[in-house]
Amino acid sequence: MSIYLAIAGMPVNIFLIMGLGGVVGVLSGLFGVGGGFLLTPLLIMFGIPPAVAAASDSNQIVAASCSGALAHKRLGNVDVKMGATFLVGGIIGGTVGAQLVKVLRNLGNYDFAVTCLYVVMLASIGGFMFFESINALKGKKDNNAEEIKDKKPSGFKKFLQSLPLQTEFKVSGVRASIIFVVGLGFIVGLLAALMGVGGGFITVPAMIYLLGMPTMAAIGTDLFQIVFTSMNVTFQQAITNHTVDIVLAVLIFCGSTIGAQVGAKLSKKLKAEQIRILLSLIVLLVMVKMLLALVCTPEQMITLTQSGGGH
């Protein structure tokens, strides 16, 4: 059964799109990670123009994150002060990012830029997860997180402590420089606009390992910022690039919600390290597929410049 997408300007198979959302939903339910970083590349692979894929993915992230954010707020896991500071950067980053998308599209290389960013990002995430899971399987299970927390960025941490505008964030029980938090928000906002991701894969580790926040507070605060960052990115993409396809976003979201329910139930029956290796392999596989598109000789030397649909 096909449905014509007004903004993408093309018909798509409803079950294919909901299926893609579903697969990513299962993964996110299974692993508790955001699916944004997998969804945009998958949509692009199935022919959705990259700019529409990224913008519509941001739109569905609004739907996917708002209920989780509310739930965490009720449980007191959201550090509103941290989230709001982060959002100052996130909103600016998202707005700048949407303009950057416009510039890159006019240059004809948005496609290329997004694919490159994705290859680098998926390679880092996939590689990190893969080696971490291998280590965990080798037997360093319990103290792994603590070790990273203590050992890793001591020099960088000192630098962070030397930054001006150090402030107390009471809910998380940490002290951090406003400049660092705003800067981190800016980067995440920029990536959100360029790639249609929520950015949880950067925000959560940064909050835990660099800022020293408790895990639940990091996850809650991350979801809180994602809701607003992706709301801003959706809006900016709509007014700057006209690339938000509401119908596409709703289809993906319906698929991913059902998938997430399945994934959450499955996760109780599977071993954590094994499924993490599985996820890292999936991420690496998508990365290799995108990398091949960059290094292999294209079938056609003359191609349509991806302008993101619309007529």
């Binding site: 339910g29 989780g68 709509a238 006209h242 349509l304």
Partner: protein, 271 residues
């Protein structure tokens, strides 16, 4: 008296209806639809063309959509990565162009081909196209450079089913003809023209044409118009719909989980 009148009326009616096919030189054009509606269920379409054709003539059908400028990129290798190295816009070229005929195009002499705008190499289309380069060194491309881009575009359009030449696509049965136009999903919006020529002994003996509009209707029209003309409101709606759908569906699933799976936690999977 009544009977006589009735007989006269019947004879006149029969004369009129039966007389039409006897106009052997007439060329008519009918389509099974007057417009191509792009709605939510649109996935390309077919237009059935039919009509009367002069005896022993060949029928040539040309479908010509409005011009649509297209941006093209030429791929090139930078170190190890393939990326767009040259970007152009092609102007003055129809978004869709199809030729269907009941006889070979080679039967038409070059003068006739030029007059009808029908040839095997899309010459009539390409001769009006302009290839404009973007970037640091803007300007119109000519010669081989332009041809390279134009041939690339023809290939792309042929693959999409927008461009085609089908000698034999028109079926002639006695004094009538029939053809099926395949309209792909990305037909350009606007008014297209269908031209039909009847050719006999190397001469055009009759020609006719008809327009057909392709336009979005219903939700597709509302959404694409709003996204373009009222982007501010569209953006707010997109965010609002996402928030609404997100909260609604998560509530539904929480209830299902509570009732069916007896789960209490509302911290499900998240993105």
């Amino acid at each position: 008296m009544k009977k006589i009148c009735f007989v006269i009326l019947i004879s006149v009616f029969l004369f009129l209806t039966l007389a039409v096919p006897s106009f052997a030189e007439e060329l008519t054009l009918f389509t099974d639809k007057d417009s191509i509606d792009v709605d939510m269920r649109f996935n390309g379409s077919k237009v059935l063309i039919s009509g009367q054709a002069p005896e022993n003539s060949n029928i040539y059908v040309k479908f010509l959509s409005p011009e649509k400028s297209v941006s093209l990129s030429k791929m090139g290798k930078k170190v190890v990565l393939w990326m767009a190295v040259e970007n152009v816009t092609v102007e003055g070229i129809p978004g869709m162009f199809q030729i269907l005929s009941s006889g070979p195009i080679d039967d038409l002499n070059s003068d006739l081909q030029a007059r009808m705008g029908i040839d095997k190499n899309y010459k009539s289309v390409l001769s009006k196209a302009k290839v404009l380069r973007h970037g640091d060194n803007p300007g119109e491309l000519t010669g081989d450079q332009a041809e390279n881009f134009l041939n690339g575009l023809i290939n792309i359009n042929q693959e999409k089913g927008l461009y085609c030449i089908d000698e034999g696509g028109v079926i002639k049965k006695g004094n009538s003809y029939e053809a099926n136009l395949n309209i792909p999903a990305d037909i350009p919006r606007g008014i297209s023209t269908i031209e039909v020529y009847a050719v006999k002994n190397g001469e055009i003996i009759a020609q006719t044409s008809k327009t057909i509009a392709a336009s979005p209707i219903g939700i597709v029209q509302t959404l694409s118009q709003m996204a373009r003309d009222n982007a501010f409101i569209y953006g707010i709606c997109a965010v609002g719909i996402a928030l609404g759908t997100g909260l609604l569906i998560s509530t539904v699933f929480r209830k299902i989980n509570q009732i069916v799976f007896k789960e209490e936690s509302d911290l499900g999977a998240h993105h």
